[in-house]
């Protein structure tokens, strides 16, 4: 067990997998010097045949990942920021997501795409999107949103060993939180949520960067006598509906916290699932705490009010508690 930042845990997992599987290839813009830190030191260790800086051409990078995987390699493509997913979207939406189906199962694409998401760093609108809703809607693509260093290692290892294109999304620009990381091989299964805190009054599903403010809110709420259960889904595709439904069956209330823009967000999807399969157990409106339908501004004060924080989360919880009391 060592304490590391999330980004370092990814780095360690990547080193271990490259050692383990000589067909694992890493590429992307500036991966050699590792602008995000997650690919640091790899070129010295594995050489430029295994990890290589690419030209700036996202459209082709995503398509190349498909071709390289078709040629029998495992691929890790680093896309840097979620906004550049749009730049490389063609091969993501039209090839990566669909070719297994379209070839009748002939083509397997063990591709892991890394990209940072989210705001809070004054990076402005073109470097702060949270783009997983678009990916989730494509089908054929898995989405992981690790929130702890341990999960980052475990989910990354699972992603890389898998046989389905997977987006591994990291919090941008902060290297993630510090946390304990298990030594040796560590796999976290996809589609298994993590209950971070148990509670009886309300279920809070918090995605990725939203886990931390949600836990803060939960602590504050405890002081007010509200017992909140906090669930980290860890992967959005596949999604652990059962854990969330079981929790709501006990608490009767659901608030979903998501840094994506509201419309067609992961939060909306989770809310919709519970409003269907969990309806009988719901005792209050299902609330979403999200970024409104706006891109993040540059100025810190203007950015801060848009990203859900402990206060907005707690207020949403209070609003569903009140209804119940009324």
């Amino acid at each position: 067990m060592a304490r590391t930042r999330l980004i370092t845990a990814v780095n360690e997992a990547l080193v271990a997998e490259m050692e383990r599987d000589p067909t694992l290839i890493v590429f992307g813009e500036d991966v050699e010097l590792a602008i995000m830190g997650d690919t640091r030191g790899l070129v010295e260790r594995f050489g430029r045949d295994r990890i290589r800086n690419s030209p700036i051409c996202e459209q082709t990078l995503t398509g190349m990942a498909v071709g390289l995987a078709s040629a029998g390699f495992r691929v890790v493509l680093h896309l840097m920021f979620n906004n550049f997913i749009y730049t490389g979207m063609d091969a993501i939406g039209n090839q990566m997501a669909k070719l297994r189906l379209m070839t009748g199962g002939q083509m397997e694409l063990p591709i892991t795409v890394i990209a940072g998401y989210g705001g809070g760093n004054g990076n402005a609108a073109q470097h702060s999107d949270t783009a997983y809703p678009a990916l989730m809607n494509l089908g054929g693509i898995q989405v992981a949103v690790p929130t702890s260093s341990a999960d980052a290692k475990g989910l990354f290892t699972t992603a890389v060993r898998g046989r389905t294109p997977t987006f591994f999304l990291e919090p941008a620009g902060r290297g993630g939180d510090m946390g304990e990381v298990p030594d040796g091989e560590h796999l976290v299964p996809f589609g298994k949520a993590n209950v971070l805190r148990t509670g009886t009054d309300v279920t809070l599903v918090a995605i990725g960067t939203m886990v931390r403010p949600t836990l803060t809110a939960a602590t504050a709420l405890a002081g007010e006598g509200v017992s909140a259960e906090v669930i980290d889904p860890r992967t959005l595709v596949p999604f652990d509906e059962d854990t969330v439904l079981a929790s709501v069956a006990r608490t009767g209330r659901l608030v979903v916290v998501d840094e994506a823009r509201d419309r067609c967000s992961a939060a909306s999807q989770i809310a919709a699932v519970v409003a269907d399969r969990g309806f009988a157990t719901l005792r209050a409106p299902v609330r979403r705490v999200t970024v409104p339908d706006v891109a993040l501004p540059y100025a810190r004060n203007a950015e801060a009010v848009l990203i859900p924080g402990p206060e907005r989360i707690a207020a949403a919880v209070r609003s569903v508690m009140e209804r119940q009391l009324a």
Partner: protein, 335 residues
């Protein structure tokens, strides 16, 4: 009939008769698709390769099953030329469970990964990057494979053409860019939307040449030189084959045009003449140099036609696609 020899190491082992047979198989197969399309047997639209057979056959004559190709929306010719099975292709086009893609892909998406056919593709320009990635894999594997990207003159205006040439050149990948320049992109005469020449674009990155795309030998030799260079580690090449699309953009074209036109009927007629059409041209050569008698050519034609009809029968007799399959195979397993 002569079974196309798909495992040759160079063009020497593919005889002219084989080249002819392969081209004819494509032609007769697609002529049959015209009929099937007209009589409503096919679920979706088809884009025919008629008139361009010499490009696919000439290029694939210098490749093995272990080499990769990416194809276009007009992909039947590449599929058959690279050794794909006509039964499996027709079953696919008919939307059947026995199709090479189990009926999930259809005409625009025929793929046989076991033969290095990474797929016809409905996205114009998608093949550039896929071929480049496969070429990178080929180089890393170090077994001398190449990856050939077939694409049209219209596709060459997609930026990924330039991007992929750049990656292939910078990393010295064994990518062969084969441009099928038929002068049109759907209903647009490509020259009206194109600045400069395509070969000049390619020359900025790699050796580039233009050949008569209706001369199967010319294509084979140019692509052959490119393949040899690529196998030897000499990096990518561009070969542009001048050719002509005899049929419409797709079989439903007339309906879509609503009476409009975009090219002259005279041009279409001219390119169907015996001195232009790649099949009569090769036939004339075979007769002139004594390789074949007319009777032998007729026999080949009869065999090919029979093969095509057998494929139709196979497709028609096959069970429909499995309606439960798609959700099962959309995602792969996780670990």
């Amino acid at each position: 009939m002569a079974t196309p020899d798909t495992d040759v190491r160079g063009h020497v082992t593919v005889t002219d008769v084989d080249l002819y047979t392969r081209m004819l198989l494509i032609r007769r197969a697609e002529e049959r698709l015209i009929v099937a399309c007209a009589d409503g047997s096919l679920p979706g639209g088809v884009h025919l390769y008629i008139g361009e057979e010499a490009v696919a056959v000439g290029a694939c004559a210098v490749m093995t099953d272990r080499d990769y190709v990416t194809s276009t929306h007009r992909g039947h010719g590449h599929f058959l030329a690279k050794g794909g099975d006509i039964d499996a292709m027709f079953a696919e086009i008919w939307g059947k469970a026995t199709g090479i893609c189990k009926g999930m892909g259809g005409s625009m998406h025929v793929a046989d990964v076991s033969k290095g056919i990474l797929g016809a593709n409905g996205i114009v320009g998608a093949g550039f990057a896929i071929a480049t990635g496969a070429a990178w894999g080929a180089k890393l594997a170090g077994e001398g494979r190449v990856a050939t990207c077939f694409f049209g003159d219209g596709a060459a205006n997609q930026g990924s053409f330039s991007e992929s040439m750049n990656v292939s050149a910078a990393w010295e990948l064994p990518t062969i860019f084969v441009c099928e320049n038929n002068g049109v992109s759907e209903f647009t005469v490509t020259s009206t939307v194109t600045g400069g020449t395509l070969v000049d674009r390619a020359r900025a990155f790699m050796p580039a040449t233009v050949v008569d795309g209706n001369d199967v030998h010319a294509v084979r030799d140019a692509v052959g030189a490119a393949v040899e260079r690529a196998r030897a580690g000499g990096g990518p090449s561009y070969v542009e084959a001048t050719t002509f699309r005899i049929r419409g953009h797709l079989e439903a074209e007339q309906h879509m045009l609503g009476g409009g036109t975009y090219r002259s009927e005279d041009d279409v007629t001219a390119w169907q003449a015996d001195d232009k059409d790649p099949l009569p041209r090769l036939a004339a050569r075979l007769l002139a140099d004594g390789t074949c008698e007319r009777a032998a050519l007729d026999r080949i034609d009869a065999e090919v036609r029979a093969r095509v009809e057998a494929a139709v029968a196979y497709a028609e007799a096959s069970p429909p696609a499995d309606p439960d399959l798609a959700p099962q195979i959309m995602f792969g397993p996780t670990a």
